[in-house]
Amino acid sequence: MKLSKNFVKDYIDIDVDIKTLAEDMTRVGNEYDSASKLINATKLVVGEVLECENHSDSDHLHICKVNVGNEVLNIVCGAPNVRKGLKVIVALDGAELPEGVKIKKGMIRGQESNGMLCSLAELGIESKFLKPEDKEGICELPQDSKVGENPIDVLKMDDEVADFELTANRGDLLSVLGMAYELGAIYDKPVKEVDLSHKEHREDINKSFSLKINTDNCKLFLAKKVEGVEIKESPAFIKNRLIASGVRPINNVVDISNYVMLELGQPLHFYDADKLNGMIEVRMAKEGEKLTTLDNIQRILNSNDIVISDGKEAIGLAGVMGGLDTEVTEQTKNVIIEAAIFDSVKVRMTSNKILRSEASNRFEKGLDPNRTYMAAERAAKLLEEYAYGKVVTGTVIYDKTNVKPKTIEITFQNITDVLGMKIPNEEILNVFRKLGFTYEVKEEKIFVTVPTRRLDISIKEDLIEEVGRIYGLENIQGKLPTVPMKQGSVDRTMREIRNKMISLGLNETLSYVLVREEEAAAFTTDTFEKVKLLDPITEERSTLRYSVITSLLKIYEYNKARNEKDVAIFEIGKGFYKKEDYGEDTKLAALMSGKYYLGMNQPKELDFYVIKGIAEEVLDYLGYNGRYSFVQPKETPIQMHPGQTAEISVNNDIVGIVGKVHPAIEKEAVYVLEINLDKLLQKKTGKMKFKEISKYPTIQKDLAILVDKTTVSEEIAKLIKKTAGSLLTNIEIFDVYEGKNIPKEKRSIAYSLSFGKQDRTLTDEEVNEVMNKVIEALTNKMGAELRA
């Protein structure tokens, strides 16, 4: 909301500069974006062009002699409309114009120029507010302007403007009058009455005009008629106040409807009375009903849009935009004023579809019916005064509102309790008085009556806020709640996982969860529905990812493009899906490419087994040692290498995937891992517990066998463990070999087996017996050959 200081001074006597005013407003909760003069320029003066000749060295420049009062200046000007005898705005040497422009004496194409002749645009007036002729060239001042005067005064643009960013509850401040009340509370000044006086003529409008309200979404509708208006340009003060408020002046009648909206906060609509059939109907639109709005666009309506009709067809979208057919034009003689209150939610829905306007914004925030009555009279008054119309007696009224000032009960103690500081009773009452609230004190209780304009106040907490706001909270002493001691809690599992991954040499990332639709279901074979946004900003971020790997792969691409080849990253984040219902799972994902350096002199070129090791390390750390296995997937996600991918199974439940990204997707060797932590952590783990260390030595035996390549090592290990029984304490592979000296379809695997018992030393015979059984089993069941 842009507030013109001249405008608000109609209603309150204030004498502060706009910056101070804006700061004071901010302190009571009304933040501002900017506060400055309407025309932010120095060293301007009215000048008269005495001579004007074409520049010999240019096709558009003119050399002018300009009388500025105390001297005649030589000024080069490029405007097409500059001519002898014109009264102009001169920016003198040293003048500062908006946007940091500084005017200096100088030479232009060999001609001395001692200033600049200004257009309104150069003085900072936005071009949308300018008349076509003002856009073309320099500003032409009235011929009776006095040379040497300040042109800002001549233009009646000596105003200051503050642009406030108001909170959604303060619809009352979307009006100059509301602002006056707020400033009145700050500066303790009274607010002046609004002048609604006008003459009335002819018989009552109710005899010739009727209303039909056929919807609950219109609670108040007032219609007045003004006859014989003359459409002209508005007087300067109206135009300039509109411009200062950010509204484009059009003609006196249209301007008055906007002026009253700015002044009182009540949006109005004016109809050309001769294009109506003596009536207005308000109803919900029919599904598919058509209406051409005044921007000349045909709109297709639905049953949630409130429309104004002339009894036959829609002529306007209530609260949003009028229709083309009934709008006020240059030819309009008689005007019907509409001042109404439409349902805020309905207006909001319609305006979201069509246009968010100054009017719809006010309807959405809620309106005070008392203002609606005022606005209808005020508009009539201004049409009489500035459009020379005659106001027809009476008003057509439809009123189903029943708004009375609210009385709220509160105690002094309530206020102290919530604010946590003691404010003297008389100061509290003083705040209510400054706000224009009336009150009655009965012992400890205060009965505060709130004017209808303050729609935002309905409970005592609202009053407490008002007291804090106007009294000021600078003196509140912070303290900590006096509550019983208790230990705080936080689930540290995610932190532990994070720290584990970091200790393994991976860098944590934080990625966007929104990805392209076609990426959203990658790296999985699960069945689910993608979760898509209704209204994404870009296609690139339109759908929620299912796999966190999707995001990590993008990060990998980003870094690869910057020549960072050794990428080791991880993230704990959400993956989203729709199955029966919408849902999300917390997932740990990791991606590795290039070399792996952890604790080694020589970095290792990454392979499947490194990322598998990372997965094992995490699972072991979380307490799942011995409960997981890596299994051949029944179906591999198409983004993964079919020969180098494993599913991670914990207690025979698939909780994740590990493997190499398919070479068709990534040429380089990229390894990824993902574990569904929600699924994994549901599986309870035992407490970490000390295990007695055997006092007896273990016996090591090595075993190298030759097996078919197709025999997977996990099966061999299972068989060894099963056969060896409880004496076997550990089994490790220390060499795998294929190639020279070995048949093509075979590979050699070498195991180191440890044997031991808690309560005694094992004998060689015992161990050899076990070893023989193992060898026998491997030979018979796996076709293994013992190597020397």
């Binding site: 009571v28 933040e31 909170t167 959604a168 805020s344 939610v345 909001r348 829905m349 919530v418 604010l419 946590g420 409970i459 907490e461 609202d462 806020e465 804090g468 706001r469 909270l473 509140i476 002493q477 912070g478 900590l480 709640p481 509550v483 019983p484 705080g488 809690s489 936080v490 689930d491 994070r498 720290n499 970091i502 200790s503 991976l506 860098n507 944590e508 934080l510 990625s511 966007y512 929104l514 979760v531 898509k532 946004l533 209704l534 209204d535 900003i537 971020r541 929620l544 990060i555 870094n559 960072e564 990428v567 080791a568 991880f570 959400k574 989203f576 919408y582 999300e584 350096y597 080694m600």
Partner: protein, 347 residues
């Protein structure tokens, strides 16, 4: 005999001085003291002596042997010492050559900041709770006193999935969940940290960002007030941004609190003198806060006549940027490994 022995002693002494390595010394020992050594030979020759001479010569031989043993032992020690010194000298390396690369991973600055915030509030008795990011309109808005069609919904342009589901625009959604889940309606002290989403994306706004939300609810008789809120936020701000900062409560509006405030902190760049960061005001807005609105209490199962409390929320990204001096918000989400790797040490 005696002379023979003395002569041998002298010879040995001389040889020992010449000997440079342990092997030669050992050879000498064997030659003199070994089973077939010279001294042993002499002892063997004693059987030819008369019984009177035997003890005398025996004593003499034993004395010489003891002397020689001490001599050789000493020489051995010296040689060992020299040998060790030589070896150490050989093993001398260039300690300024680079180390073997032992790589540590790193923790993202946002999560570092989140952990710091969590630890602070846990130390003050708060519980850290979690909630879904894919949230319902009910929990994100309606239960926070923001019915459908409420104009304040404009404050947060949302990513809707369906008319009922959206990406949460604020961690405040966890307020209602916490209150409802607490079936015994005991006092609440909680914070929630996590990702939030809004339908805006430019140089200073990421469509995805992080927030922390705090909620304290207690019995009316314990009277949790605005002063308690201020004190709590002072502790928080000092931990995150440094001491000697003051807070300013500016009245504002959030549908879920009443009264509501925006909280400004002394500009941490200029110390309040006025600079480009604070737009010459000396203050930086960092928090939204207020006393929990009676409607919110009521809607989520707490009787506003018996309970009251405060809530606050703030963005974490900016705190992290300040903490580490990160100059551009976009660094937080591009995940350039050259950026990530910088966060590999303790704070």
């Amino acid at each position: 005999m005696k002379e023979k022995l003395e002569k041998m002693k002298e010879q040995v002494k001389q040889k020992v001085e010449e000997i440079k390595d342990l092997q030669a010394l050992n050879d000498l020992r064997v030659k003199i003291l070994g089973k077939k050594g010279e001294l042993t030979e002499i002892l063997r020759g004693m059987k030819d002596l008369s019984p009177e001479e035997r003890p005398v010569v025996g004593n003499l031989v034993n004395r010489v042997r003891d002397e020689l043993e001490v001599l050789l032992e000493q020489a051995e020690k010296e040689l060992q010492q020299k040998e060790l010194e030589r070896k150490l000298n050989e093993e001398k390396i260039d300690i300024t050559l680079p180390s073997s690369k032992i790589i540590r991973g790193s923790k993202h600055p946002i999560n570092r900041t989140i952990e710091q915030i969590q630890d602070l509030f846990v130390s003050m008795g708060y519980d850290v709770v979690d909630g879904p990011e894919l949230e319902t309109d009910e929990f994100c808005f309606e239960r926070l006193n923001l019915p459908k069609g409420h104009p304040a919904r404009d404050m947060q342009d949302s990513f809707y999935i369906t008319p009922e589901y959206l990406l949460r625009t604020q961690t405040s959604s966890v307020q209602a969940r916490t209150m409802l889940a607490n079936t015994e309606k005991t006092p609440i002290r909680m914070i929630c940290t996590g990702k939030t989403y809004r339908r805006e994306d430019d140089a200073t706004h990421s469509h995805q960002f992080n927030q922390v939300e705090g909620l304290v609810i207690d019995k009316k008789e314990r009277n949790v007030s605005l002063a308690d809120l201020k004190g709590t936020l002072e502790v928080f701000v000092k931990e995150m941004l440094g001491d000697n900062l003051s807070l300013r409560f500016r009245p504002s509006y959030f549908p879920f609190t009443e009264p509501s405030y925006e909280v400004d902190v002394t500009c941490f760049k200029c110390g309040g003198k006025g600079c480009s960061l604070c737009k010459q005001t000396g203050w930086i807005e960092i928090l939204g806060a207020g006393m929990v609105h009676p409607n919110v209490l009521e809607m989520n199962g707490y009787d506003p006549k018996q309970y009251g409390g405060f809530a606050f929320g703030t963005g974490i990204d900016r705190l992290a940027m300040f903490k580490y001096g990160i100059t551009d918000m976009r660094y937080l989400y591009t995940n350039d490994v050259r950026f990530l790797k910088q966060f590999d040490r303790m704070d």
